[in-house]
Symmetry: D3
Subunit: 127 residues, 6 copies
């Protein structure tokens, strides 16, 4: 199995609901460093999993929908805790759609979000 | 599949038995940077794999049992080479116990130990 | 000249005033990874610049005053853009006070804040 | 499952064929930071996946065959785009041969090549 | 003294002249991860050393002049070893010009180029 | 001012004397990732601060004198706390001697030792 990963980043504000979150129930924010990994059993005709330029642009387009936003105000996320894990899945789902024809042949997409140097989460999506 | 990773670190002394270890047969030491990854098929009611605060505290508790120790003197490790691989499994096993009820719903735990910037090991435990 | 650096991190929300900030004028947030460096011409009687435990605790205490906060609501920062550079100086100033007697003998403190994997700022304070 | 990873690096020139590569069709180059991961279901008699010294030396030997080369001139790669993905597989295949008897008991080898701080690829080889 | 750093990267081919370079006399290549640091004694009216957007764009513009190139064919570098150190100075000099009016008030620019995970160089330019 | 940095690493055991060290008074150990920086006002005839191969070899030679050792048993360090800061200076001093003729023209050497991902020290030596 082959994989290709591209990295990008976005900054958001949000708050969490639930006592488990302690001080993170207050409005705060995060820089998320995103690592989007595309998996493919075999390489395509150009010897690639997916073109890095295409992968980077699609990832950028997805992140642009949420960056510099207060996620508490994003309608699509209403009633949800926008946890790091939740955002991983949201990005993976979007990538699988926004890749368009480039998704053909992919076995899966994994999105990893680093919320700091000591904590990160991921979501592995099978295609 | 979702995952959540927290990072911590500990410093120990130890020595190895066996010619394969060369100069590492002498008493020396290491800083181990630990990355403990918890996997879960679905998110819990709070939208999490495991609460980061809980995960960090349990990991800290496990590491506190060995840090600033000479592992050659730890009774539990008698007759064992405390290789990086061995320590990965020991930490993963401990985490699965010390998590208590928080282990419910987890699919697995992976512990990765970086012994330097150019070498690391991991152990993947299924639950 | 000797130096000793400790690293910590905090998460905040804030917004900026001024057209130069573009989309960052909206309420957003950041994870700041903080590297606080203490400089000393000579080592103290224990062979240290400053005890790592003390340095880490003082840094933690300073960061706890702002973490999980919306900096737009912090009275002390009213009328200020809480840019990464500005926060570097605020932390350095606080550290120099909160170190108490441990500040004796230090030549300076530098605070570096990483706002992402591709952008960071610092402030170097002479003592 | 256990794993052991060692890191090394090599620098090469090459060019790509195909419009998808845009400016990378021109002769350019890359530093590849290589992370070779060896997997084993159980530890060997010394408590290891593979000896780090052996793993590092074998990886070095493999990389020495291509480093400081223009890959466009390497006969073995004629007619191939030496993409990061392609090189991952080439290194993994070589490692599995050059490990010699040390390959016994391994479940697999994964080679990850970082071509920059924001892009990397991998190939996972089952044994 | 304040500083602001932005990171980018570029890939090039080149060769070196001189026995000291050993195998690097052959045509090879490198990924250079660039960290451009701008220093200023005081913050500007917006509370910044330099706007991150401006800094990033100017750096990108400078790097675009050499990326995906064989530096042996760049007229401006004829007769020069394009060592990492040499490229640091070339980028710093270009940045100081291409910043245009944004250079006003800056005390200096430092350019650091990482040629791998284990080697890097820098050039510090006073303004 | 130009600089050139090479990175290496070594593993040791040691203990500290003094209540300030808390649990680190027990025999423990560390992996030290070393970054040795050489500074020069102007480049030499080859366009270098110092040849990377030479710098790496000299650093390796210095580190080999202490690696896989219990520093408490090293005669040269008797009666000293081998703190990270202390080791930085020891390495810098050794490098300045062991560089031999390559030290000519250097303005200084800085040695930085990372004892973990969250703590490091340095010593800056003027030449």
């Amino acid at each position: 199995m082959f994989s290709l990963t591209v990295r990008d980043r976005f900054m958001v504000a949000h708050s969490f609901t639930g006592e488990v979150f302690g001080p993170a129930q207050r409005l705060h924010g995060a820089t998320f460093v995103v690592e989007a990994t595309f998996r493919r059993a075999d390489l395509d005709a150009d010897g690639l999993v997916v073109d890095i330029g295409v992968a980077s642009q699609v990832l950028r387009t997805v992140l642009a929908q949420v960056e510099y936003r207060n996620l508490d105000d994003v309608e699509e996320f209403a009633g949800q805790n926008t946890s790091t894990e939740f955002l991983c899945r949201w990005i993976a789902d979007r990538l699988s759609v926004d890749l368009g024809p480039a998704v053909t042949g992919l076995a899966g997409i994994t999105v990893l979000l680093r919320e700091s140097d000591v904590a990160w989460a991921s979501y592995e999506k099978e295609l």
